[in-house]
Amino acid sequence: MNQPVGLQTGEENRAPPSPIREFWHYFTENKGALAGLIVFSIVCFMAIFADWIAPHNPTQQYRDAFLTPPFWAAEGSTRFLLGTDAVGRDILSRLIHGARYSLVIGGIVVTISLIFGISLGLIAGFSRGIVEILIMRAMDIMLALPSLLLAVVIVAILGPSLFNAMLAISIVYLPHLVRLTRAAAITELTKDYVTASKVSGAGVMRLMVITVLPNCMAPLIVQATLSFSNAILDAAALGFLGMGAQPPTPEWGTMLAEAREFVLSAWWVVTFPGLAILITVLALNLLGDGLRDALDPKLKRQ
């Protein structure tokens, strides 16, 4: 009665690895992504255990040690491994605590912009017609304004604080995500498996969230990691303008902004926060690329 699909040997017979193992296998093949993951894990570790790792209190000012260089330089000491800033605060401790702020900023910005961006993008892609036009033109208007200016305006309206800065940045990132999601949704909607789900009776919500969305994730993941890193930079810019994190918050970007005047005289005050941002952003981007490649089933076979 049954047609035996027959004498298959080899690959088909071995039980396929569980999705997690398979994902890990592809992910670790990409050495850059692995390096990114390790570095990012270190940053997370620092953020979580900052209170125990940091040698000093990040806001404590040591009046006797303004602008001390790092320990390997002439006047440095091992008391302040990376030196101190203009008001005598230990840079290493501030960097370690600053990791918390960066992760929180990145995380909240990405979360807010993903939730609203994906929702709007899906609605636009599915509804076509007037709703789509309204959403996309609103996004176009937002894109037409310089993003930093828009963020400054939003913060000026809401009041200067770190949370408002994050909200402003999330709003500014919305159009990119909406466009990406809408484009991916429109492409997927032409495919047969969506029609098959429709014929099975799937309603719009199920089609949007369960059927189509998982297939749009690849560009969204990359955009999310880019947004994470850009958020850290934009929060720094806002902090520089006095509209983001307020001193004495040890946020990397604010540290960078405060240290502008010391570029030539006390290079360590500028360099270390800058390096921290650079390394974290690079690690995140590599991680994001690796995630996208590993999660995409189409890239898996020959």
């Binding site: 699909v5 047969d192 498996y193 014929v199 099975s200 297939n215």
Partner: protein
């Protein structure tokens, strides 16, 4: 024509689907007649083949019969219920009577879902089975189509084209439909796999008393599997009737050209072949009169002016052609 003793599962009467194509802000939109007046009755356990090339309206017909789109005009009865006369809710309930299989085995399964999830989806949406029951049903259906039950945990990209098509067939059967619309189900498969899938389709048809609306441009497959044939060109039905009669004595020039164009598996028969000249006219600007007259060797004045009507020339073999009506062909 329906035979006595068999239930009719699908009936179509003058089924039509038009699309409006915008021609810019200042011009009136033009009408694209994707499907223009299809009539047929499909009995349970039988296969109606819809034959034609791109632009003939067969995909549109598939979308109308699976209720993805409503017809612009005409009536469609599924399982005895006329679609425009029933409520939205009742139409929804009819979903489990008609299911579909697609041509491209690589695009018709959601790449991000496990096979089990794909098979269970129709059950989740339409029935009240528990999770355990659904898994068992999915595994049973997988075995029925010749795959192994443990395959429910795998993803589509781990399977070959023929195996994916089997999964697609399994999905179509989860709700125990009465009609399966098969849109070129074997066209993308190798010959030996095609044979396996065709055999499977025919076995399942016997076991479940399924009706197939079998859309294909592969005439050899159609001759093998169908009971009745409907030949379409640019949205219109040009010839319709019993399979053996149409293949033995095609009357419409387009049907004859189709048969003649199909490569024949016999090197000895190579010499004579009627090659149809020209290309398909644009469906937005169809020719006047008979849509085929531009490419027809036997076209006369009346063919350019009057649209021919599908007429019964005895024993249910219907043709829409002036030449046949007049006895010229």
């Amino acid at each position: 024509m329906p035979e006595r003793g068999h239930d009719i599962v699908v009936t179509a009467q003058d089924l039509t689907r038009h699309y409006e194509v915008k021609q810019g802000i200042f011009s009136k939109p033009k009408v694209l007649k994707a499907l223009d007046g299809a009539n047929f009755s499909l009995a349970s356990g039988k296969t109606l083949a819809v034959v034609g090339e791109s632009g003939c309206g067969k995909s549109t017909l598939a979308r109308l019969v699976t209720m993805i789109e409503p017809p612009t005009s005409g009536k469609l009865w599924i399982d005895g219920k006329e679609l425009s006369a029933i409520s939205e809710h009742q139409r929804h309930a009819l979903r489990d009577k008609v299911q579909i299989i697609f041509q491209d085995p690589y695009g018709s399964l959601n790449p991000r879902k496990q096979v089990g999830t794909i098979l269970e989806e129709p059950l989740i949406i339409n029935t009240a089975h528990s999770a355990k029951e659904r898994i068992v049903l999915a595994q049973e259906m997988l075995e029925r189509v010749g795959l192994r039950p443990e395959h429910i945990r795998r993803y589509p990209h781990m399977f070959s084209g023929g195996q994916r098509q089997r999964i697609a067939i399994a999905r179509a059967l989860m709700l125990k439909p009465k009609v399966v619309v098969a849109d070129e189900p074997v066209s993308a498969l190798d010959v030996s796999i095609q044979a396996q899938v065709l055999n499977l389709l025919m076995e399942l048809q016997e076991e479940f008393e399924l009706s197939y609306l079998f859309i294909s441009h592969g005439l050899s497959v159609v001759e093998h599997i169908s009971d009745e044939v409907m030949v379409m060109y640019l949205g219109k039905t040009v010839e319709q009737g019993d399979r053996s009669r149409i293949f033995a004595q095609p009357r419409h020039p387009y049907t004859q050209a189709l048969l003649a164009s199909t490569p024949f598996v016999d090197p000895g028969r190579r010499a004579k072949r009627v090659v149809l000249k020209g290309e398909l006219p644009s469906p937005i600007d169809p020719p006047s009169g008979c849509v085929f007259h531009g490419r027809c060797e036997h076209a006369t004045e009346i063919c350019k002016q009057q649209i021919p009507v599908l007429k019964n020339h005895g024993d249910g073999h219907m043709t829409a052609c002036h030449g046949v009506d007049e006895g010229r062909l």
